[in-house]
């Protein structure tokens, strides 16, 4: 059981991924796998909410900018907040950029109560370090990690801090499973099944019994039952037990650049996560520590509810290192030490090899190689495909950094690339061109008389295309089809109106061409 003396404060900036990008107050929505993960206040006011599909969100707030999610930038901007929090409290657990958990038992005694800590934090500490344009954080206090997270969720809804009363188990048992979906402690399918049989709160789960929950829902059910009875031992650590699995690497000679450190980190992470000391469990909490020749130390605790895959942990090392070296005056000598210590583990429910499908050694090898290639070339050069949806070739899939998008779980990787919203009206589908130009390639499409072919207002061609001039060479057209006009974002000033034509050249290659504002360009090639 968690000691009642622990009081955990969750500080959560729900829209950090969007609000840290711009401070001009414009509407902005950030998507991940075609779903909204964060939006600025103007976008939320227009009806955008987390979890919405891209199509719904862009229809509700058409003027919103939709930049790609940039986790490096999120952590870079959050570094100043972290520094300030770590100066105030020794135990800070970083869940993600914009989401931390603090153990405030000590500070509460010093400042004269939990309300005083919250007041000091929100009115004195944060205003100086939070970037302009970021809205006030949600603040929740609880005795365990899960009640603290639920309190923060309720704080986000009601607009003021929410505190779980000390020694009041009723507060915990009345927590609804629907709230735990938002905090990531239960998946939506399991919560739906439980709700249909009348189990809606943690109190209801506690009455079922651990064996019944384990039988029906496996490791997740057992974990949910533990949360229901208050057996949640997760908390920020201040002193790491000496027997905790750890790997320490000394640099001799010390290194003055970050790249070799990150490269070495991959080996350290590999060694740590494959350590027999983990007893087949996954690492859900880790303490990363760097040291320099001048005894300067950077120490951060990170947590990941599903267990850290190699790439995710290497990312944490990189984010912490980048933030440390960017902090003025923080580091005055080369780095001579990197150590990783496991602070928390969980049952490895997802890594068991299954009879059909599932994670195998090929997946592990690939994960390790991706981490290594990312260290060699930079994370923005190692990419995986992610479904975005759309009408135009080259837009339906985006290439995103593998370190952020690749998971250890094959099912989640399948979700990443599986089309979620069917075929968009107006899309030219199957077969897709094999290659698409990285930058627009202009072409000249001419009729038999040498005049440029134009598409009329009714979507008809002025004359059949006879020749196409591509990359300085003229090709004869043997077959062609189209045009297929499409209007993108017709409701806003950035609208595009274009028409697409397929052509087959005399050498057998086929190409998808587009004409927009009377200019032809290559959209893709079937080669």
């Amino acid at each position: 059981m968690t000691s009642p003396s622990h009081r955990l404060l969750t500080l959560w900036f729900p829209d950090w991924p969007a609000e840290c990008l711009r401070d001009d107050g414009s509407a902005l929505v950030v998507f991940h796998r075609d779903r909204v993960v964060a939006a600025t206040a103007p976008a939320r006011a227009a009806g955008v909410s987390v979890g919405q599909r891209r199509r719904v969100a862009t229809a509700r707030c058409p003027e919103a900018a939709t930049p790609a999610r940039d986790r490096d930038h999120e952590h870079q901007r959050f570094a100043a907040v972290l520094d300030a929090l770590c100066d105030l409290v020794p135990g800070v657990d970083i869940v993600d950029a914009g989401h931390v958990v603090l153990d405030i038992k000590g500070p509460a005694g010093y400042f004269g109560g939990e309300n005083a800590v919250i007041d000091h934090l929100c009115n004195r500490i944060l205003p100086g370090v939070v970037p302009a344009g970021v809205s006030s954080p949600a603040v929740g206090v609880g005795s365990t990690m899960v009640t603290s997270a639920v309190a923060a969720l309720r704080s986000h809804r009601c607009g003021h801090p929410v505190i779980e009363p000390i020694a009041d188990p009723q507060w915990r048992v009345m927590v609804e499973l629907a709230e735990l979906i938002a905090t990531g402690d239960v998946d939506a399918d399991a919560a739906d099944v439980l709700a249909r049989v009348g189990v809606r709160t943690l109190g209801d789960v506690a009455t079922i019994g651990v064996s019944a929950m384990s039988d029906r829902f496996g490791a997740m059910g057992a974990r949910l039952h533990r949360l229901a009875v208050g057996d949640d031992h997760r908390r920020p650590v201040v002193t790491v037990p000496s027997e905790a699995p750890a790997v320490c690497r000394w640099f001799d000679p010390p290194v003055a650049e970050t790249t070799p450190v990150v490269f070495m980190a991959r080996d350290v992470v590999d060694e740590l996560l494959s350590s027999p000391a983990l007893h087949g469990r996954v690492c859900t909490g880790v303490l990363i520590e760097f040291g320099t020749e001048h005894a300067e130390i950077s120490r951060r605790q990170w947590s990941h509810a599903d267990g850290f895959p190699v790439t995710a942990l290497v990312d944490r090392v990189r984010w912490q290192l980048d933030a440390w070296v960017r902090r003025p005056g923080a580091i005055t000598a080369p780095i001579d030490r990197l150590s990783l210590t496991v602070t928390d583990t969980a049952a490895d429910a997802g890594a068991v090899q299954r009879l059909w499908g599932g994670r195998g050694t090929a997946d592990d090898d690939a994960q390790r190689t991706v981490a290594r290639l990312s260290s060699l070339l930079g994370p923005d050069k190692v990419l995986v495909a992610e479904w975005c949806g759309g009408r135009l070739t080259g837009e339906r899939y985006a290439w995103v950094p593998a370190t952020a998008a690749l998971h250890a779980d094959p099912e989640r990787d399948c979700e990443r690339v599986t089309p979620t919203d069917g075929v968009w009206a107006g899309a030219v589908v199957r077969p897709a061109p094999n290659t698409v130009p990285i930058a627009p390639i202009p072409v000249d499409v001419c009729d038999a008389d040498g005049a440029t072919v134009v598409v009329g207002g009714r979507g008809d061609l002025s004359a059949p295309p006879a020749t196409v001039r591509l990359a300085g060479r003229e090709h004869s057209v043997t077959c062609w089809a189209g045009p297929w006009p499409v209007t993108e974002r017709w409701w806003e000033p950035r609208r595009r109106r274009l028409a697409r034509v397929q052509v087959v050249f005399d050498d057998g290659t086929a190409h998808l061409l587009a004409v927009e504002r009377r200019r032809w360009s290559l959209m893709g090639s079937y080669i």
Binding site: L373, P431, A432, P437, D507, S525
Partner: protein, 239 residues
């Protein structure tokens, strides 16, 4: 024959049961092969691409053929690395076409390689072969001798497959590129579904010819790309 002790994480076919007709002493032990879709089986003497080899595709259907060739291996669990050399061409592989060819897109990783950034392509390839069973890239041209020998050793150790696609420009001879074990040349003999002003391109009829070391002559097949059914035919190869 044990080729690629580390590569057994993805299924390889152990040659073919019926090797009659292959007719050379060196082939009495059939090599480990990567299975290919049934229509492409006739291109390779053992019914699939030999593990640890480099295969080049060229011609007007090179990308489509390369994608079809690697699809069964990736579908069976191997990971594929696609290397885009930023300076050598201005096009990127379209993920949707890989998916249509039957490639399991969730196991595809793309690397954008910039020669001016410092890292050597051979080092990148060798690092990639540690974790990827299939590597697909635009023909980088010939590699320096020592780099190629290191690459060959690693390729043989891992039992992986490297597929290079030679850039195609109408009217220009295909430049001599990387040293390969097999070359599959493509020629488009017709387009289906599309006419003059009507329809939509559905398939291209392609004549493919394979040749090279240990290929025992030139082999021809006629196929439609993209291949609708990429299932692997495990029946013995009729020679």
């Amino acid at each position: 024959m044990m080729i690629g002790a580390h590569a057994t994480t993805y299924p390889l076919s152990s040659g073919v049961p019926d090797i009659a007709g292959v007719g050379r002493a060196g082939d009495l032990i059939a090599p480990e092969v990567f299975a290919v879709p049934a229509p492409l089986k006739g291109l390779f003497p053992h019914g699939g691409v030999a593990a640890g080899s480099v295969v080049a595709c060229e011609g007007p259907a090179a990308w489509a053929l390369a994608a079809a060739m690697v699809a069964p291996a990736v579908d069976a669990g191997a990971w594929m690395l696609v290397i885009d050399v930023a300076a050598s061409h201005a096009c990127a592989v379209e993920p949707e076409s890989l998916r249509e060819a039957g490639v399991a897109l969730e196991r595809v990783v793309r690397v954008v390689y910039d020669p001016s950034a410092g890292a050597h392509l051979a080092d990148l390839l060798i690092a990639g072969l540690d974790g990827f069973g299939v590597v697909l890239l635009v023909d980088p041209g010939s590699l320096p001798g020592p780099a190629e020998r290191r690459l060959r050793r690693r390729l043989a150790d891992r039992g992986a497959l490297v597929v290079v696609v030679r850039p195609y420009v109408l009217g220009r001879p295909t430049p001599r590129g990387a040293s390969t074990d097999a070359l599959v040349a493509t020629e488009v003999i017709g387009a289906e579904g599309i006419g003059t002003g009507w329809g939509k391109l559905s398939h291209r009829r392609v004549r493919a010819a394979s040749s090279g070391r240990r290929m025992h002559g030139v082999r021809h097949v006629e196929i439609c790309l993209p291949i609708d059914d990429v299932s692997v035919d495990h029946a013995p190869l009729k020679q």
